[in-house]
């Protein structure tokens, strides 16, 4: 589904991703962990098509297409979804209106008829249950004045609405209390399917107790320096990153 080969990216001439290789198949869950500033959000942003990041080398293939040639909106239509580490506040645009526009644009690009107001509302009610999100929240301006937890919950709600093939969750667990974490993680699990892959960027093993990954990767200084099974996450939780840093230094 997704093949990243030797991907390099920089911002303002500063190299951040220095050769990423990653292969993701439908149905898989990959966790990406790593110290602050190692490039996790950058990787997520490059996959979603953020233009500030200049891709300086390598390739990304998604469902047989050259992802790097596509605009962010084309990627969304192709099935890529990024749950932002810091969701953006957009005053004056309600979540409902925003999602209706987004969903219908995606449908349009796939040659599907737009949903009318009633169909949309029905779908929304259904999906709102998945993350237990409040109707009142959806009527407010997108993310404006939302608490940290509400913003994250709203990201997963959007994922539920847009039904992507590949969801990239960038620290969706940060800012969530224990109950919200469980609800959001269960929401993600409900959305898991044999066709859908998920990349979970996190600092904590806790989230991976709920969303059990098939693979765990450690991103450090712009490279994936270690990959393993879910046990790797336990090891990191226990020992921190020093041993990995030492291994890298020894190379």
């Amino acid at each position: 589904m997704l093949t990243i080969t030797d991907l390099k990216a920089s911002v303002d001439d500063k190299a951040i991703l220095k050769g990423i290789n990653l292969e993701i198949k439908p149905g898989e869950v990959h966790a990406i962990m790593g110290p602050n500033g190692s490039g996790k959000s950058t990787l997520a942003s490059v996959l979603a098509g953020r233009e500030e990041y200049e891709v300086t080398g390598g390739s990304v293939e998604f469902d047989g297409q050259d992802l790097l040639e596509m605009s962010p909106e084309e990627r969304a239509a192709a099935g890529i979804f990024l749950a932002f580490q810091y969701p953006v506040e957009i005053p004056g645009v309600t979540t409902i209106n925003f999602l209706k526009t987004a969903l219908n644009e995606i449908r349009k690009s796939r040659g599907e008829a737009p949903l009318d107001a009633a169909q949309f509302l029905k779908l929304m009610r259904e999906k709102a249950k998945i993350v237990n999100i409040d109707d009142a929240l959806l009527k407010r301006s997108l993310n404006e004045g939302f608490s940290g937890g509400e913003k994250k919950r709203n990201e997963i709600f959007q994922m539920a609405m847009l039904e992507p093939k590949l969801a990239i969750l960038d620290e969706t667990d940060s800012g969530l209390d224990i109950d919200a974490l469980r609800i959001v993680a269960e929401g993600v699990n409900k959305l898991r399917s044999p066709e859908r892959a998920v990349i979970v960027v996190t600092h904590y093993q806790r989230l991976l107790d709920y969303i059990v990954p098939d693979y765990v990767h450690v991103l450090y200084k712009g490279r994936i320096v270690k990959s393993g099974s879910k046990e790797l996450a336990f090891e990191l939780e226990e020992k921190g990153y020093d041993w990995i840093k030492a291994e890298v230094a020894a190379l």
């Binding site: 909106e73 953006v88 957009i90």
Partner: protein, 439 residues
């Protein structure tokens, strides 16, 4: 005088005035006409302002006053045009003025006379001279403002509205000013007087629209008297052509405990100057002023507001917002006066702009003149670009770039648009705005 222009238009107007005066017969002796004559003298003395004039620094009328206009264009604008123009089917008391002349055929007044007395200016001079003697030209400053003087001198048509004390007018009043410039350069000078009695309520809109490829010039003055505890919603909507000059003054006086809401939306216009002057001549008044403008191409939009807190304990709040594209220019000049005795005044002002092109520019000038220590006043202006993060966020959800930009721009305007409480006007505007923003 060095800071006035001597020019064709001024000469034309002086000659026009004399010609008009010679045809007045009995009306020449009325109080209204005494005002006209006085105003004409002031206009002659003042002349058109140049950019050396402090209030006209960024708005140059030089190209306007070099032109000549026909102030009496005959127009065949009729019911068919109303339909082809896609003017929405407005409900309420809808009055049409074509090239400044009241068109009774197109107009319809639905409110009962007990709620609302509406006369065109010409009839009011004959049928309600007392009202005009009491209010006409008592508030709009024809002594110092050349365009107001000019309008006053030529005050022959427009609307005179009286809402008697205690009446709640359910149906809005919508004044449609159509300038038909399909054959020649057309000019008009509508003059309106709105008197809203004690405890009365009314919603009204002035909508300006120009047709045709020739030049046009509208010089409008509206005086609004808001008596004690009255409530007035006033909307000014402009959708004119690139060649249209629009200069307008809305002069408001508020008495104790009255509420006044103004929303001024400039969708299109070549050169627009709106003066909104409010005198809070009462205690416990509230005034809200909202404005929106979206100039593109070479359009120029200038909003001047003046809030004069003349008595204690009143509140005023204004919010103007603009989106500027291409080579357009904008001006916001907001003056707040707090007089010596006006303690416990609360006055707030904010002007926010999005400038989307390096060649567009916005000049903002807040002016606070406060002669009392016991007041709360604030003002702020911002000029920025659209939020790139927000655009990326929307695109990452599948919304194409252009759509995302339009959505953001519309969202920026939303809090002003939503202030319009006449639904048909609000919807008409929303449509126009979406269309304009997508350009």
């Amino acid at each position: 005088m060095s800071n006035t222009l001597n020019n064709d238009l001024k000469q034309q107007l002086v000659a026009d005035f004399q010609a008009t005066e010679s045809r007045l017969n009995g009306e020449a002796k009325t109080e209204v006409h005494q005002k006209r004559r006085e105003a004409m003298q002031r206009f002659e003395a003042l002349g058109f302002p140049t950019i050396k004039h402090e209030e006209w620094k960024y708005s140059n009328v030089n190209n306007l006053v070099k032109q000549t206009f026909d102030f009496n264009v005959k127009s065949d604008f009729g019911a068919n045009d109303v339909e082809t123009l896609e003017i929405p089917n407005l409900q309420g008391n809808v009055l049409y003025f074509v090239n400044g002349k009241y068109n009774a055929e197109l107009s319809s007044i639905v409110s009962p006379e007990s709620q609302l007395q509406i006369l065109n200016f010409g009839r009011a001079v004959k049928e309600n001279p007392e009202l005009l003697a009491t209010y006409f030209a008592h508030y709009a400053n024809y002594q110092d403002d050349a365009f107001t003087a000019l309008n006053t001198a030529f005050a022959h048509d427009g609307v005179v509205v009286h809402v008697p004390a205690g009446k709640i007018v359910e149906e809005p009043i919508i004044l449609r000013f159509i300038t038909d410039a399909r054959t020649v350069n057309a000019a008009s000078q509508p003059r309106n007087l709105i008197v809203v009695g004690k405890n009365a309520e009314v919603k009204m809109a002035e909508a300006f629209r120009t047709l045709g490829d020739n030049g046009s010039f509208t010089n409008v003055v509206t005086e609004i008297v808001v008596e004690e505890n009255a409530n007035v919603q006033y909307y000014k909507v402009q959708n004119e052509t690139e060649k249209a000059y629009h200069i307008g003054t809305t002069q408001v006086i508020q008495k104790d405990k009255s509420h006044f809401y103004a929303v001024t939306v400039t969708v299109n216009g070549g050169f627009v100057r709106n003066n909104l002057n409010i005198v809070l001549d009462g205690q416990h008044c509230e005034s809200f002023m909202y404005g929106l403008y979206f100039p593109n191409g070479k359009q120029h939009v200038d909003n001047h507001t003046l809030v004069d807190h003349a008595k204690p304990n009143s509140y005023s709040n204004e919010l103007y917002k603009g989106i500027l594209k291409d080579k357009s220019t904008g001006v916001f000049n907001g003056k707040i006066f707090v007089r010596e005795y006006a303690s416990k005044t609360n006055a707030y002002q904010s002007c926010r702009n999005v400038v989307l092109s390096d060649e567009a520019s916005m000049n903002t000038k807040p002016q606070l003149e406060i002669y009392n220590d016991d007041v709360k006043c604030s003002h702020g202006t911002t000029t920025g670009k659209l939020n790139d993060e927000a655009i990326f966020y929307m695109r990452s959800r599948g919304i194409p770039q252009a759509e995302a930009v339009t959505l953001l721009m519309y969202a920026f305007c939303e809090d002003v648009i939503s202030q319009i409480k006449i639904e048909s006007i609000r919807e008409y505007l929303s449509g126009l705005i979406v269309e304009k923003l997508a350009q």
